[in-house]
């Protein structure tokens, strides 16, 4: 194995994660709409059918409820299915399976049935796919006990979170932001795995904490860079795991910076950003030296028109503005 960092896209990292998981464990297989012959609607699984065969890369009918349910059954029966749901917008058709079966059966059976299922979904906006293909619904799933919710933002997490998810005896949902698939970066071959429990500080700073995840991470890092040119050092936390939340990392950062902006591409009302903010109020209220601010998507169905779509989403400018307002309040 080469030890030099390899340049690779996020899409290729996802593909390599699936390929390696299938090669490593005969119980692992992938199924979903257009994952085989078409190579996946975001081309993540391109070439895998040819290499791994129809038993391991399975095209399914267009019925999320049916194939997610099949995945749950396969998991209960001892396999390690990876189910791809084309986008999280379609996952609502399988919500009954995910909530009432996958998340619930281990508990209702008194632990007799584990559901070691992994569901991958694309999430997020930015490609003019309009309101029915652009929403960020991971916060909804983060509401559900019994699920572990992952949001890989980096190439390393895209490459390694899947193996950890498959090793988890409970259902794990992985949300891949559509704007990350083309991102290219280096993958350190020395890193052979990642945890799926903790948040990471992607940039240290002492003036303000920017909490984010997934597709918003790089917008937030861009904002942090712009803020640094103004002398404001922001600490960027990548949540990585949306359920259960690693609140310790957040609270330690809040204790250092005492100011928080939460960046979430989900809608503001009843959102994951609201949950993070409330956890801070519960656990670190007395550390705060400013109100908590949020930068979320506008509360509209994500528009189709490019300029409206961009206007509806968190952007480096709006993130930096929110942070600036806390670190350098207007007199």
């Amino acid at each position: 194995m080469s030890t030099a960092p390899a340049r690779i896209t996020y899409r290729e990292a996802c593909r390599e994660a699936i390929r390696a998981a299938i090669l490593a464990d005969p119980r692992v297989f992938l199924m979903g709409e257009d994952v085989g012959r078409y190579g996946g609607c975001y081309a993540v699984t391109k070439g895998l059918l040819e290499e791994l065969g129809e038993a391991r890369i399975r095209d399914t009918p267009l019925s999320e409820s049916a194939f997610v349910g099949a995945g749950i059954g396969a998991a209960i029966a001892g396999l390690r299915p990876i189910v791809e749901v084309m986008t999280c917008n379609f996952s609502l058709l399988a919500l009954d399976q995910i909530l009432n079966n996958a998340a619930t059966i281990p508990h209702m059976s008194g632990g007799q049935f584990a559901v070691p299922l992994v569901i991958r979904m694309a999430t997020g906006a930015g490609r003019q796919l309009a309101a029915q293909h652009s929403h960020s619904l991971e916060g909804w799933f983060a509401h559900i006990p019994g699920l572990r919710i992952l949001a890989p933002a980096t190439i390393e997490d895209a490459r390694h979170m899947l193996a950890a998810a498959l090793a988890d005896p409970n259902p794990v949902l992985i949300f891949e932001h559509i704007m990350l698939y083309n991102m290219e970066g280096e993958l350190d071959p020395a890193v052979q795995g990642v945890d799926i429990a903790s948040a990471r500080i992607r940039r240290p700073g002492h003036d303000v904490t920017l909490v984010t995840y997934g597709g918003s991470l790089f917008k937030t890092l861009d904002a942090a860079e712009a803020l640094a040119r103004e002398g404001i050092e922001s600490e960027v936390i990548d949540l990585r795991v949306l359920r259960p939340l690693d609140t310790a990392t957040i609270m330690q950062s809040v204790a250092r910076t005492r100011r928080v902006v939460i960046v979430d591409e989900g809608w503001r009302s009843g959102s994951l950003s609201a949950e993070v903010a409330m956890r801070i109020m519960e656990e670190a209220f007395f550390e705060l030296d400013a109100p908590i601010r949020r930068v979320c998507s506008r509360e509209v169905p994500i528009p189709y028109a490019a300029h409206l779509e961009q206007a509806a989403l968190p952007q480096p400018g709006s993130i930096a503005e929110a942070a600036r307002g806390l670190a350098r309040p207007a007199p």
Binding site: R258, F285, F286, E287, L288, D289, A290, P291, G325, L326, P329, P331
Partner: protein, 379 residues
């Protein structure tokens, strides 16, 4: 208008919560009154029917003024018009008075400070009032940047900030008021140190006698023989002290020093003095000094220790009139019986208050200390 505090003279009726003719019960909120303490809800203390509202919202009336009339007798049936005239619909002739639209609810008083949680906590820790601080945080809130740094760390019983102030006050006064004279004398400690070595042989380290104890032992006994240097300058006159209570200067970790008294040090054996010194140092650094120990000293001794300088020109602690300094023990060429030999010596210094004594007297004290150190008695 009820009195909502001993200092309340008047209140503004903000809002009626009931309409005339309405039945009310003890404990119901019937009105809102604005006072200097904010908007207060007014309860009713009797059951009954409210007949008429005398004071209109927005009016300011003195405590005790009539606000409304309550018909307590109308206990039983609801005051319905229908009982008397079942067929008659309520008519304009007997209009149920429409309460005027309530004015906007009074805003919280402007004196309410916006303070961030972290700033409020730090202010509380510092014991700082928030009044008068100008907020520079978000929305004008008082934030950490508007407060002094973290609260002074209180370590074991003394307050370094307060101590620094006390030292500054005492030393400033001393240098302003006391005309110091300074004497110094270098003393051969070799015989005494050899004796200490003999006494310490076989003792565990915590029980060993230190050279400082030997020097203090000699100094205390010498001071007892020179009462003109042991006492206080008060009201333009010297007052001799009753006993020799030596203030032993102890440097504190983290800064500052304190010179608690060893009472009757001249009467203690060398061993007892060593015990007293160890106890005092431990309590000075760990907390637990008694108030009397901080006020009883009649003379102060400062010893620089084995890492200190060779001599010190000390400053008198008022109202005392003398302070003695012991320099570090060093090995030096010394003339003994016409020959230069290496000896372990230390420089003793004395600062005296020239108002109370003269250098001659101070010189006698130093000479006496030297003599006692040269001929160490067996305890």
């Amino acid at each position: 208008m009820p009195s909502l505090g001993a200092d309340m003279e008047a209140g503004t009726l903000v809002e009626w919560k009931v309409a005339p003719g309405e039945r009310v019960h003890r404990g119901d909120i019937v009105a809102v009154v604005e006072t200097q303490k904010g908007a207060i809800e007014i309860e009713i203390f009797e059951d009954g029917v409210l007949r008429d509202l005398v004071v209109a919202p927005g009016s300011r009336v003195p405590v005790g003024a009539l606000l409304a009339r309550l018909d307590v007798a109308a206990g039983g049936p609801p005051p319905a018009l229908s009982a008397a005239a079942p067929a008659a619909p309520p008519r304009a002739a007997a209009p149920a008075p429409v309460p005027p639209p309530p004015p906007p609810i009074a805003m919280p008083p402007a004196s309410r400070h916006r303070v961030t949680p972290a700033a409020r906590r730090r202010a509380a820790a510092l014991g700082l009032p928030l009044e008068g601080l100008r907020g520079t945080g978000v929305e004008g809130a008082i934030c950490l940047a508007d407060l002094p740094q973290a609260p002074p760390r209180r370590s074991s019983g003394f307050d370094p900030v307060g101590m620094r102030k006390a030292i500054a006050a005492a030393m400033g006064r001393s240098k302003r008021e006391i005309p110091h004279y300074y004497l110094s004398q270098t003393v051969d400690l070799t015989p005494g140190l050899e004796r200490l070595a003999r006494l310490n042989a076989g003792r565990a380290p915590p029980e060993r006698l230190l050279p400082a104890a030997m020097m203090l032992h000699a100094a205390a006994r010498a001071v007892a023989e020179t009462p003109e240097l042991n006492g206080f300058w008060e009201n333009d006159a010297f007052r001799a002290a009753e006993g020799v209570h030596v203030g032993w200067a102890v440097a504190l970790r983290g800064g500052g020093l304190v010179a608690p008294a060893i009472r009757d040090a001249d009467r203690l054996s060398l061993d007892a003095l060593m015990v007293a010194m160890r106890d005092l140092v431990a309590r000075a650094r760990g907390g637990g000094l008694r108030g009397s120990e901080l006020t009883d000293a009649t003379i102060t001794v400062t010893s620089l220790g084995d890492r200190g300088a060779e001599s010190v020109l000390p400053i008198i602690h008022p109202p005392q009139v003398t302070i003695l300094g012991f320099g570090r023990i060093v090995e030096r060429p010394w003339v003994v019986a016409g020959a230069v030999v290496p000896r372990r010596v230390a420089t003793l210094t004395l600062a005296g208050d020239h108002r109370a004594s003269d250098g001659h007297r101070g010189g006698l004290l130093l000479a006496r200390i030297e003599a006692l150190l040269q001929k160490p008695e067996e305890p």
